[in-house]
Symmetry: C6
Subunit: 228 residues, 6 copies
């Protein structure tokens, strides 16, 4: 199930525009996580576009959708993904003014408690009616991207299964391997093949030395994606 | 009454699919509890499916339903079971996104108070209208499984009475004994009988050595079931 | 007025089924209380049925109703009784799932403040609409039993007056004396009378040695009844 | 204005049934108060009837009504009286179950903060709808008694003016003097007059030695009345 | 702008009945304040009539209205005046029972936190519906007096301009000077003029020695007016 | 993107009346900020007019609008600007009484916690209905100025692009340079040109020595504008 879950994250990372490119995906448990899909930040950006954030929401929901489509059941394992997707959607509405309905305003006042060194409460300084419209916008951001991700994964169900098989066999897949599966190609390039047979997609990624090190994961927002 | 209560838990543990297999049931008081129905986790899982959780809710409600059907009265003793069933249903809606109506979002933000070392308050960060729809979904999860459990126990009322009698006589029943009663068989196999007369159900359980030790009870979620 | 009040509690304790049998009733002030009606727990039970709890609510309201019917006025003295009756009704709805309308769910999350060693706040984790329906159910439990108790006391108004007179004369009545008044018999048995003239009710109580000591009053729930 | 205010309290204390008899009235400032109308508790009671409490509400409102009727203006001076009248009415509804509409229930849970040694917050544990009906009942108790007091003072406006004149001349009036004014009699009895000319009302009060000392003012509820 | 603002306060202090007489007006900054209009309490009163309080609200709003009418713009400088006018109106409704709609009740319970030595929170102990009606009454008290003040200042716009000019020239005006401007007279009496040419208004004020010293400013309520 | 963002702020600072004149604009990161548009306070004022505050809201929104119009995407970078614009609008409604709908009242009571040395909570002391109308007014102030700013930037899109180019080339632009771009003139004046070819706008600013030093930035309200 972990393999299916990570495959869902990874497929969407490759398929959706605007997101960071995939770095690797693994089902080796790490700390609390049962698996990990790691994205490679294109540059050390501090600014995230609405399109980037919506892609992240879809990728976060991808693990659960993959389980739902291939296994036919929802599990508690998607919980943290859902929390992070909901949180991103809420910040898009309340902090970054990205909901056309709510307008370019912010909602809620953060209260930091100095003596504890961290924010404890988000003070609600708006009316019940505004709270209702915020909820509706947050739900819309999540469900729109759920639907989008659901359609992509349904269309590419076989690739999810292939990638899960490959993960069970090898435990970790690198960016090229994930891209080959998503392109419907065999996992390994024929050893002596010329460049002409190489699919285009993997080549599009810039050489590793031109990018920041993969370990530099973007901090919140958005938090590292697809850890399960 | 404790025997009837535990018999209700145990019958549903055997009858419902998706749940963990039964380990034993007892009416020997232990700590605060007047009795205990212990389930055997099939494997050390961290992931629970929606079907598993709904079975747990039904099993939790089973003790009270057994009292209601056989004795004709509701007592305060089911209180803790109800609290845990309600809590599971609320987490299915708010934490694990398992309500189709509410969608794959999470609701509420946990606030941990570091200096106390534990979570105190679940911060409500949604509107009153959302709160109402959450309540309706939580109630639906509980009452649907109440109805399901009520039908099963009504149909097998005599087995509840038999199991309660056996519990009063022996204080503790193991998995095979519970399964024999649920299958309508005599409590003990004839000593020299061949395997052909053995009912199928008990044999389906894997030998104890292939399973994790019964003492490894799954932590929350879900909490150990049917302690009264 | 204290005598009338205690007589109201005592009459209902005898008249209502499902409750614990009466032990004694007194108008000697004790601590903060102006009088006391003491029930004898039939056994050290930890489980209370819905019928038992409804009887306790009626008994708690009995003191006030006796004043209302005999003296024609309501006083502040019934305050603590009302608080305890309301609290029992609220727990029946919110903690023990005894309201058919609300279903077998629990409502509200208790927050214990460790450093104070006791629960301070009952956290409301439900919607305003649910709060309204809880209020309606709590009121229904209280007013239904008020009506029931009102009818019994109206019918036996003279016995209340007789018992109050006896209390003013003797300050304390034991279980047999209360039962004789409730049965319309003279307070004392003729000294040399044979058992045939003894009313049945008092004899039903088991000899004191077979019961737990009267001083072992059941803790909450339900709290000791009818202290004024 | 202080004389008018105290005269309003004193007139109602004499005119209304069920209240404690008047002890004295003064316009000599005492502590924070500009004047004082002191009632004599008939006995050391702990129990207050609904009629007694309604009389206290009317008496508390009497000072303000007297100003309104004689001077034609409302002032801030009545503030404390209003707060105490409102508080009594609220306790009648929420604590003593004296509103027929709300029924014999209590509303609100007191939270005592031990470490501060006193109650700080009245926890609202009921729905918004219940809160609204409580407000309506509290307002009804206050306005009904306001109307009753308004009619009495309007009818006896001249006596208010007479009593205020007497207060300005003598600063303090005792019970007999207040009662003579309320009966329309001259302030002092003719020195050699026989008992036949004495009005009935003052004689109804029991001799002082049979009563508790006037200094024993009943504690809350209800708090000492008519201090301004 | 400060001169215009203070002129607005001062004009209303002279024009409105029921208020305390003016003492002086200045545009010399004092502490945080850019200017000051000081009223002379007629006597050391502790009691304020509804008419007095409404005059204070109007006077507080006068500075802002003067800016609005003469300069045509609203500024942030009136903020503290608005807060104090709103607070007075709220206390008239909630503390002093001066709203006919709300009746002679008080609303809200003050909580004093002893260990901080001051009141922190006004506990809302009423329903949402009552809160709405309180808001409407508070708004009505403020806007009615805003309208009243607006009409007076519109009618006497030229006097505001004259007083502002005089303030810019002299920085401080005493009571007689303010009254002369408000009466449309030249700022200084002709030195050798006889009393017949003196306007009536200034003479109405009692000689300073009969009044309490101007420095004895009434404490809250109401707080000193027209400090900007 | 930072250059475009700052150009949006700077263009509106020049184009809108009532605001403080521009001092300089830079894309050199400073502390947490990626860039800065600095305004020159015309005088050390403590009073801000409604028109000034509305200009500040528009200027704050300018960065985001510039991104939206030239790049076609909204990013998270505008978050702090939105928060400050929303906060200004809220204070105009709640603190400075600048909404005609809400009237010259203040809403909310600030609670300062002395022992922390700063304000933590804004106490809501008004009804839900008032909260809703406040929200509507706050939104109106923000969206009206958003629309106004959107129209200006749309009309002058090319100037935004030119200013961004200049910023990328020089990193910092002074007031004259910004004004020349906004006037559609080449960035540098021809060295030997006579004054006749100089555009009027830059000359309107008073010489630096007559103004307060640029480093004296007005404190809240309003907070320094356009730091990103």
């Amino acid at each position: 199930m972990t393999a299916i879950h990570q495959a869902g994250h990874a497929l969407l990372t490759v398929m959706l525009p605007y997101g960071d490119p995939i770095h690797k995906v693994t089902i080796i448990p790490r700390g609390m996580a049962l698996g990990l899909t790691q994205q490679l930040p294109m540059d050390e950006k501090h600014n995230y576009s609405r399109e980037y954030l919506e892609a992240q929401i879809a990728i976060l929901l991808g693990g659960r959708i993959a389980e739902e489509i291939t296994i036919g059941s929802i599990t508690t394992g998607a919980g943290n993904d859902l929390e992070r997707a909901t949180d991103l959607a809420r910040r898009m509405v309340c902090e970054w003014g990205m909901s056309t309905t709510m307008g370019p305003l912010t909602f809620g006042k953060k209260e930091e408690q100095i003596f504890l060194g961290r924010e404890i409460a988000q003070h609600q300084d708006y009316s019940e009616d505004t709270a209702l419209r915020i909820d509706q916008e947050v739900k819309r951001f999540v469900t729109d991207n759920y639907t989008r991700a659901y359609e992509i994964i349904t269309e590419h169900k076989q690739k999810i299964l292939d990638m899960a098989d490959a993960l069970l066999a090898r435990e970790t897949l690198d960016a090229d391997q994930v891209k080959r599966i998503c392109a419907g190609l065999p996992l390994e390039e024929p050893t002596s093949a010329t460049g002409s047979s190489t699919p285009t997609a993997p080549r599009e990624s810039k050489p590793a030395k031109e990018r920041p090190a993969p370990s530099i994961v973007p901090q919140i927002p958005p938090r590292p994606v697809t850890q399960e």
